[in-house]
Amino acid sequence: MSRMTYAQASAAALRFEMQRDATVWALGEDLGRGGVFGQYRGLQQEFGAKRIVDTPISEAAIMGAAVGAAMMGTRPVVEMRFSDFALCAIDELVNQAAKARYMFGGQTRVPLVAREPVGMWRASAAQHSQSLEAWYTHIPGLVVVMPSTPSDNRGLLAAAIRADDPVVYLEHKDLWGVEGEVPDGDYVVPIGEAAVRREGSDVTLLSWSRTVAECELAAASLAERGIAAEVIDLRTLWPWDRETVYASVRKTGRVLITHEAVQVGGFGAELAADLSETQFGVLKAPVTRLGAPRAPIAYSPPLESAVKVQADAIAARAAALLS
């Protein structure tokens, strides 16, 4: 175990994978200076400019080249800098990477990882704050991962790099500096397994990414009011861990799904729809969602906060499910 930040944990994972497998490489803007969030710090010095590649501002080419390079048997780790800019490379990800294996009848695989930092962070405003994970869950061929802790960022990035299909890997910008204990050596967190962050029997708080911490705070405050909330960190959005989630819902009979993304059409809708249908008989209250309003994200801090899903609102909503 070593203590490190979420950003450092991702660098440790990439470093380990690059040492382990010579076909792993990374490409993106400013990587040679450590990347905009320092998550590539030291790697170009260690692996050289051919494996940690500084690219032009050409998001379509970064992703498109990764598709070609992946089809040729390498494992590119694509850095999109802000997930918002990944919209400049959506054709390459959705029409090419996600479909190549299928379209060509299984002749090829596209083992790339698209790292796309998401979320609100320091008043970055409408074009630098989005969380569009729901889009990727809707696209056949894509795996969608959203780590919320340093150790998961180590273990899940390793798993993503080893996966043989394209993985959309969404780190949260507000988590880069979060510290935690991270296993050393060969450490992999399997894709598709949720983590129960806190056990409880009254209500399930289902979330991922930065909002998990808000759920943990909410659960603590609910505990003071005598409500035992179970907090589940989904970690992988597709394929998601039905077993763990269903077991929790069968126990609590109440679910609040929360996420930072816009609520309308968010991945919470998929989960709510699924749980409302499959757990119809066991639900003691309607499955409830709490996401952002359907508005772009403003720059001004009080306006930005107004659309952020926070512990108080989560606790209030959860409590309402029991009243």
Binding site: E92, D164, E277
Partner: protein, 334 residues
Amino acid sequence: MNQTNLNVTRLSSQLHSMYRVRAFEQRAVEALQSGDVPGPLHPSIGQEACAVAIVGSVERDDILLSTHRGHGHTLVKGADPEAMMRELLGKAGGCCGGKGGSMHIADFDVGMLGANGVVGANLLIAAGAAHALDLLGESRIVLNIFGDGAINRGPFLEALNWAQIYKLPVLFVCEDNRFAATTRSATTTAGDGPVARAEALGIPAEQADGNDLLALEETAARLVGEVRGGQGPRLLHAVTYRLTGHTAADAAPYRDAAEVDAKWRDDPIARTRTLLGGAGVSEAELDSLAARADAEMSAALTAARAAGYPPVSEAFSDVQDLDAAMTAPGGSSV
């Protein structure tokens, strides 16, 4: 071209190859008309010299990325016409198992990494394939063919810039058939075209007559040599003409019959045939090349027609490893 220098054997084999491409396209159109091809079809009739001269100038283990109009390229790269025809008919045994169709034809065994349904997308994939070859220290190269319409999409700039800054082994080929669907590409293309654009990026580039098999081959071979020699990317602009419609369903009423008639007189197959005739090859011998090609492609079509469709379970395979269980009919639902 001094006819005494003609390598008659080689040129005959190239003419045969052109006939194969044309016969394949003709059988495919026929199959579309008879209702056997369920999806869109973009024939390359009139552009066979490009396929034969350019694709013919790389090796079987080199990599090819082509377009929606890619049957000829795929065939010349070495794919099996019957597997291709099965693919066009959506049948089992198609080179993509019937899942891709004409617009996604591919044969990875012969280095053909796919046609593409998105104009311009293949340039980026080609740059990336070349990037991987460079990273892996391989000596193979990438051949990337795209149309005159593709040079106005952003990926043209991004891919060429990319290939040049990393000095990647890729030959970009703009196979210019003068049309982008129903639009004359000259009307939507600023400046002097792909050569000027490549040169502005520092990439040596050449234009060639895309219907002159020998000149085209000479140019392509030289550029392939430079790319293989590690000199970085090159671009070839091959000017040809799309003798039929954009798709097999397009009667192309937006152009004069006279224009098309004139272009038929520049048919690369006829031109090559004339060369061989001039070198003393008999009409009968030339006809037999065509007949052999026709027979081969007719047999391919017959076999494809006789083949069955893939099992419905194939609709749900090859999606991704991690959620096979979740890719069932009815999606994630119970």
